[in-house]
Amino acid sequence: MSYDEIPWPIIWQAARETLVMLGASLALSVPIGLVIGVLVFLTSPGQFWQQIWVNRLLSLIVNVTRSVPFVIMMIYVMPITRWLVGTSIGMKGAIPPLVIAAAPFFARMTEIALREVDRGVIEAAEAMGTPRLLIIWRVLLREARTGLIAGVTVTAVNLVSYTAMSGVIGGGGLGDLAIRYGYQRFRSDVMLVTVVLLVILVQLLQSFGDRLVQRLSRNP
């Protein structure tokens, strides 16, 4: 087994698939999770949209979705996937389950980040007569921004590992390649390359997120 036998075009193709799945699902999970997270936070006791039952329901949905292993989730939501994108297989079919798994996760990260915002600052904004939507936008999300970015980073890293499982439904990507070539065809060189590429991807995501957090932090 020599170096030049590595099927580079196939690897680059898989890398591209991973990036597309990651990008698309992250782009959808973040806004959806953000909205759910804000709602969970604001309906919790003591906040200005306090609604205990809405809060419990949302929280339950978030928890249930988060406790289903992704491999199973992917199969479970196939009807929804088909309804949403017209197919339940391939890269396109992988995106809905990725979003369904990652959005609740990011919602929880959002809620945690919002809890860190000083209650007094929200109170001050209320005392100034700030409309509630502006409190959410200019106070809550702004003050929580470093926590939110850290949450996006963790969600992205999670999504990378989820995409690896999308091979089950023919979603493609680096993880899928590692299983098909590295595991099923005993090509440990391909396995190594894909793993290295995944590690590099996660490293890049993490350090980019960390750097952004550092730059936006106002608490030395």
Binding site: V121, A124, E126, A127, M128, T130, L134, R218, P220
Partner: protein, 344 residues
Amino acid sequence: MRLPGGVGLIILDNLCKSYGSGKHAVTVIDHVSMEVTKGEIFGIIGQSGAGKSTLLRCVNLLARPDSGSVTVGGVELTRLNTRELQAQRRKIGMIFQHFNLLSTLTARDNVAFPLRLEGLSRQEIRRRADELLEMVGMSAHADKYPAQLSGGQKQRIGIARALAGRPDVLLCDEATSALDQETTRSVLALLQDINRKLGVTILLVTHEIEVVRAICDRVAVMQRGQIVESGRTADLLLRPGHPATRELLRQTEDPDGGDASGSDAGGTIIRVLYSGDSAGKPALSEAVRGTSVQFVILHGTVSRIRDVPYGRMTIRLTGPSGETASVIGRLREQGWEVETPDVL
């Protein structure tokens, strides 16, 4: 002397509020009614847990009373819907013990926050914010973030922000409690300045009697959700009627009454209090003139609460008992309050 005005700018009528429900319900505000007159600095003092911060929050309805009404500037806030209330709140400034500035905004942008709600142009916002920063002496720190400022500086930014909407009323929630003495003094001086120059009525809540003594025209004492006593600052501090007020005063009073040095030297030990007009007179020397009574001042304070001069002394009088009694009588004629050993 009566305070000018007479029409309450802030009127709290029969407010009640409790937290929790059923058996665990805790009454925080128990049938409180009070008025704050336009232009004055009104203090609410009490131990922690007395309900004073909640009462203050009822003024702009950050805390909603269970019953009773709140009227500020002729508008009954308790009747307004959310949008109308938001509009009224812009005319009521508020500052906080922990400043509550946005950590992600610079000092200037914090001050600009309420201005942005008014839909002013960018240049106008900037101009107004800089003007406000100048007023609180923070121009040099405009581009710093709160984490780079000291407590006193943060409170100045908080004050500038609270004044951005040109409010008639400024609510201060323990505004100096997180500051050291020196900084407290300068922040209080700033508040007094704002009261005098801009005519902003100030309602403040504190547990520090020194804050009341320094700037309040009138004061109310709160205990267990009720206002137990209120009045002009000098009257209340010099002649406290309620045990809660005396307890608050005890925090700052010199613990030794000066009695120790005079206890076994014989004579009659009296405590006197004079204030206002009777403070300028040579009453003591007048009182002993023509008698053989001699006096020694064992302990005393001569000071001023707001614009009221006062003196409080412990005096030993030695001489025949008949003459001593007549000296005490003369002091009382001069308007001095005298506590004799019998009363003590």
